[in-house]
Symmetry: C2
Subunit: 216 residues, 2 copies
Amino acid sequence: MKTLKIPEATIVRLSVYSRFLGTADRRGITTISSGDIADGVGVSPAQVRKDLAYFGEFGTRGVGYNVKDLHRHIMKILGLSAEWQVSLVGLGNLGLALAQYKGFRERGFKIRSIFDSDPAKVGTTVNDVVVEHIDNLEEVLAQQGAQNGAIAQIGIIAVPTPFAQSVADRLIKSGVKAILNFAPVVLSVPPEIELRNVDLAVHLEVLTFNLALHKS
Amino acid sequence: MKTLKIPEATIVRLSVYSRFLGTADRRGITTISSGDIADGVGVSPAQVRKDLAYFGEFGTRGVGYNVKDLHRHIMKILGLSAEWQVSLVGLGNLGLALAQYKGFRERGFKIRSIFDSDPAKVGTTVNDVVVEHIDNLEEVLAQQGAQNGAIAQIGIIAVPTPFAQSVADRLIKSGVKAILNFAPVVLSVPPEIELRNVDLAVHLEVLTFNLALHKS
DNA sequence: TTAAATTTGTGATATAATTAACTATGCAAT
DNA sequence: ATTGCATAGTTAATTATATCACAAATTTAA
């Protein structure tokens, strides 16, 4: 497979295009131009075409793109044709919100297992998923993996900061290949593990930085 | 003020350095080198120095940086010496999680007002903040602004997608200068308004893209 | 049929960001 | 004092990303 180093920004934009195309499709739009997409998501038409060009030719010159087709193609590119096993660790306020987050389901992500250390939470059901004790993480993930052959597993970490690294270690040892980390701490993971950090305070700080600039 | 276009990536890293320095400070570390910081947050030492160089000289050659000093400087750069009025709109699962998120308070952000449309929630208290009805948004923000003179206000949008744009419009009309949007939709706002989007599904899709690549 | 209008795909260019290399400075040991 | 070592600050080189401009393809209208 030829992989000419795709910019991450391109992937993020593809994800946004995909969401936009889904909306357009539901509205009954069948054909769309790079300019339409660009207007819809706030980038330039050239950027849209360049992003798509990394992966092939999906449009018709003089016409545009077929909405359904392009949507399908991008979903495929993003790896959304496979089913991913998503596990959530930590059912505090944030964890609960993530477990019930509609945006995940809308984009095809279903959380398969949930772990927490609070005995009061273990055994309860969130969105049809029974909460497991975190002590059973390895066991449950092994089972889950066995059920689904080679499909890679994704872990979401929503535990308090001091526990995040050990949870990451255990997830990885259990075969998880990608981690979405909400704890505001820099995790150390092997290079082959995909890691993304979501630090909500960082976003606020980028805003305050920009505001502080404008005011002076 | 000279503002030589600071890369946004630099701001994000500064925020991470700042968090790291806070931890180091609490551990009693007084002096730190660019290499130490780099190791701690997973970037190169040159990157650390380059990022800081945009804003001045904060270290001592041959020695390193004073942890407390550098921390203070970065906080100042990020605009965290001012107090920001943060309002949260939407108290669903995600909104509630954000309202109680410790990470915000740890970094100095305090949510001053919370709005929701559900009568059952209005009047309840979350983290010492009384939930207001969203119909009163303009009124409450006007009061809040008046109390605090010229300090800019920040709005966090955690309402369902269909309502996000109108909430944004109302926030802006009420004087909010920066918006952190959690609704998975592209908002259109005037160019002078600072906008950041947090789309949780996008993060998962970047992970699946990378996993899909590695597997082929 | 031809011409005009549209819109993609892409090579060339420009811009931006990162990395590397170097210089200057300060400290510690002798 | 002098030398050696560590490390910040800075300039230059490299790499990555985004923009631009145009040729190629398709449709529509005359």
